[in-house]
Symmetry: C2
Subunit: 698 residues, 2 copies
Amino acid sequence: MLLHRPFQLHARSRFSLLSLSSPFRRGITYLPKSHTKLQRRSVIRISASITAKPSSELRKKHKSSDPDDKLVALRELFSRPNINIDAYIIPSQDAHQSEFTSECYARRAYISGFTGSAGTAVVTKDKAALWTDGRYFLQAEQQLSSSWILMRAGNLGVPTTSEWLNGVLSPGCRIGIDPFLFSSDAAEELKEAISQKNHELVYLYDVNLVDEIWKESRPKPPNRHIRLHDLKYAGVDVSSKLSSLRSELINAGSSAIVIPMLDEIAWLLNLRGSDIPHSPVMYAYLVVEIDGAKLFIDDAKINPEVNHYLKNAGIELRPYESILSEIESLALKGACLWLDTSSVSAAIVNTFKSACDKYISAAGVVVNNNKKAVPNGPEGQSCGPTAVYRTSPVSLAKAVKNEAELEGMRNCHLRDAAALAQFWAWLEEEIGNGVILTEVDVADKLLEFRSRQDGFIGTSFDTISGSGANGAIIHYKPEPSSCSIIYAEKLFLLDSGAQYIDGTTDITRTVHFGQPSSWEKECFTRVLQGHIALDQAIFPENYPGFVLDAFARSSLWKIGLDYRHGTGHGVGAALNVHEGPQSISFRFGNMTPLLKGMVVSNEPGYYEDHAFGIRIENLLCVKEATTPNRFGGVDYLGFEKLTFVPVQAKLVDLSLLSTTEIDWLNDYHEQVWEKVSPLLDGPAHEWLWNNTRPLVKA
Amino acid sequence: MLLHRPFQLHARSRFSLLSLSSPFRRGITYLPKSHTKLQRRSVIRISASITAKPSSELRKKHKSSDPDDKLVALRELFSRPNINIDAYIIPSQDAHQSEFTSECYARRAYISGFTGSAGTAVVTKDKAALWTDGRYFLQAEQQLSSSWILMRAGNLGVPTTSEWLNGVLSPGCRIGIDPFLFSSDAAEELKEAISQKNHELVYLYDVNLVDEIWKESRPKPPNRHIRLHDLKYAGVDVSSKLSSLRSELINAGSSAIVIPMLDEIAWLLNLRGSDIPHSPVMYAYLVVEIDGAKLFIDDAKINPEVNHYLKNAGIELRPYESILSEIESLALKGACLWLDTSSVSAAIVNTFKSACDKYISAAGVVVNNNKKAVPNGPEGQSCGPTAVYRTSPVSLAKAVKNEAELEGMRNCHLRDAAALAQFWAWLEEEIGNGVILTEVDVADKLLEFRSRQDGFIGTSFDTISGSGANGAIIHYKPEPSSCSIIYAEKLFLLDSGAQYIDGTTDITRTVHFGQPSSWEKECFTRVLQGHIALDQAIFPENYPGFVLDAFARSSLWKIGLDYRHGTGHGVGAALNVHEGPQSISFRFGNMTPLLKGMVVSNEPGYYEDHAFGIRIENLLCVKEATTPNRFGGVDYLGFEKLTFVPVQAKLVDLSLLSTTEIDWLNDYHEQVWEKVSPLLDGPAHEWLWNNTRPLVKA
């Protein structure tokens, strides 16, 4: 699945790629014009369930009540004495910057009626506006009432949220936000932008105004039990992970870290949850100190086994809501707190800063509250609380998989491949028999095949199932009410993935059920050449992923083609299907080197508007390459394939391929047969045989 | 010729690549360890002549006098009342950040006795230290007297100049520099570093202390006449160029620019000089205002024709030495001055700042002296002098060649190729006859062949002529007294170039006169594959060059090989052999896009210490590629070859090449024959025929 970057608060989706606010985007000055790309977050669901329900059932729409009543109710809150604001901003995010969120946090969808995945609502005393990007203009037009102004983000002349606020409010207004829903960096950027008109950014800690009017109809926060992630899949136990983290804290001169990212918590503690669709995580905060750790979580989610496990690991339980008072306590005891301001909320960062200030005035001493940590005075005693602003060390540790995690990834990919072989055999048979199937039907059927596999937990993202022109909509999500049928005479693109007990999958194949045109074959073959070039790349250690991106595009560039998305994203091990910090992309700002053990997708594509889409995606693991030389004394790295599903031979124009490329394809198919055929029988076994036969250039 | 970045003042050559001080290096965080590279500036010459003298004659050493006397004399100056310093730093640079400098500016070589191209001397009241990099450790050991400490820059534990000064001086000292010899950025960095020990950086405007003791023995500054660069080669006349520059000034809200870079001045005015070896430029400053321009130059260099030409172009002449008073005048008349602080000297930037301050206190008004230009008040009248800190706009304008410049480049490359064919035919014949020739002999002979070509002016850099192991010394410069003979049974690397009236060349070929080993052939073939991959690259417009760098390395990486230099540098049209702002390199910080009309080198290599060096270099011009599609509505770019000299077939292992690669080689050789054979007769004609025959895979 393609990586879709989180929608930007300021509705500058088209320009926000150039923003310096994210560590992933630094240093970009000349971004190719053609590569500015709209972004996306997953659609917010009615149901937070991630059990294997058919997609059709999962896709009920929010009932739309009169949005005017909601706006009236919201504005009434503006004038409460403890609130006293002139505008309120409602983003899509939850408090953990999650890519997918639980339904109870879908506040922007509730207040605006617009259920698209990406958008920001801004309500003033007399206006209400919603920003979304080009993928959702039509949907937003249909769903927004006349009380709302639709802001087509990215269109020429459309202001950002802060520009709009600066324009419609008289100077010196108070603009409210829920400070939990903004990263500290995002809030600072917003504060700076609105300060041009002397507006004040008001952090409303105690109440989310949308929740206040949502009341009883608001879905309950998820509270299902969390589970242990078996050590045979995790590979490293929680005490070792905590011990490594504590070494990092000590090296950075800090005494504690607060971790809001849900996948980082799940990884660090070897726990998994089911609070969020597609991602096996649970809502929580984790605070790790040198001599202890506290998990802030709704204790209804903790069964006796997990309770015992956490106790053994020295992790104390605290209520989810008490995170801010913990932050204050940390300041009071003079902690040097590691804060990743790109992910930690403005609420937490500001609470810590205020508590530090209080400490200082109480102590009557001057302490260094700058970026440099000064945890101890000259005699070793604490000289007051400080903050270290750095990228979370858990992000990189999690990205580099250990052997057990890789083994889980390898194993689940074979089971996933078996499900896909069964699916493709079934689909070809059905289409061949003239059965009419919709894009949603096939996504549901695929889910059915996958759900029969051992250890299956759920999808890892919404299946992208696009026939013909729909395949060219990079972020296409078929809806039962409006989706297309699968045309036998058109290209069909299927991007899907699953969560298993032992790993996470993500695969795209593009097929044709009839006779592809020579143009479709040429495009497919060039995408395949890019896929092969990246798969076969060998490169010295410490190179960032973007160095390899051009390998995947070169064959398309030769004839003036390209694609407007990155080539590869990180993938978690039985965790989020998208994870950082590495990537393989034309976004040159991400300098994270590719390291042995990282998992990345390899997914070049080509998309012809109103015609077809092509993408070929495997997951790869970075491994040491066994080169005969090691110039410079460094390791040379390459990739190991994790995905083993045939590439449709019918779409390959062999005359365009070099001998090496044909050898690659035949070797791959031989491996597919050897690894996956033992898991199959019947028509799927036969389908696999037919689809892994060696190709010979005429 | 490889691009050797200027030696860094602070003797951190190995780490300075990570410095953020240069706009070329921004955004680098993870630089591959294996690619930190020592840097180099050209050797400073006794003679400033660039006429076609044989290398042997050009390579006389500086006579070494007793350096102690010089140090004593220098230190005596420290205590003069108007000087009053505790230390003095003597860099290699001239006042224009030139890669090659005139001999009269070789102050560091004079004071230290060390004549290597890269180095910084620092003299305190009781110590003297010289920093240089690994290429020069041996030479420096031989040349430095016992009064000097050799600082082996880049070696573990060796301090930078500022670290050393901070260590040896008691706090609060005065450290003097000649502010003309430091860019403003470099001086600011130095000031910041030494401020840690409360040292003050003292700008000695009025006197260069080394010149003061050098006295009569100091070579006279060059004063030969400058010449017009014919419009048929320049393509655009001076008034059009000035008019474009003035549009840029107006767009940036500035009213004037000061240009210290000698190649920018030569390009802008369509003038050429002979003040510096290898570079056809003259020492000068240029100040361009909206309604006028002034050239600051020794008027002995101006003949009546040039005088008339400049008058017609509206360019006034001023003495070279009066630049600072002009800068003061600009401030006094309220100019908004465009300053590129990476190239403009600290002397100029600080003079302008001081003059602005004076203006302010005199006027008693508050003006905006920040980066944003505020040239005019609300009623249109000037509201005080300001500065705009930006990269010089001339750099990019010069890099994008017009059709006349490209035509000159194409033409001179054919004549250069004819000289090289004559040279290689001669050399193979001599070696075949058992004649013993040294590396310097063959460099001299090559100069002789080139000097017979029409429009030849001189070499564009010191010829790198390395047999066997010497070829592995990337910055090798053979000396008559110590160089090797050309071994018939070893690889021979020859990197050379010339200045012609119509263009500049730079070419490397590697050959074997006997029977190369299969390992040498494999290495050569992989370098060739990288060369072909870059030559054949097609890419969308607006991509920076580093995206293509991996294409040139990929074939080497496959077997764990690499090279520790960039793949391509910009080349001037009848100007400097190295120019920015573009590059093709693993230094990911240079985001300058490759643009149609830019000239770059394509020079992958492989170097095996103590054994051999391989490099294959052509110059290329960026051109629009005629792709059948234009996805994204952008132009796709590719390269046109400028260099037409055969690649030695004997060194190619055809079994490693794909059909496409063999086709490339045969097609190239066919073009070489067609374009160059008409310029040849006799043995060279026959040599070219033999060396351009098509190759067929067995």
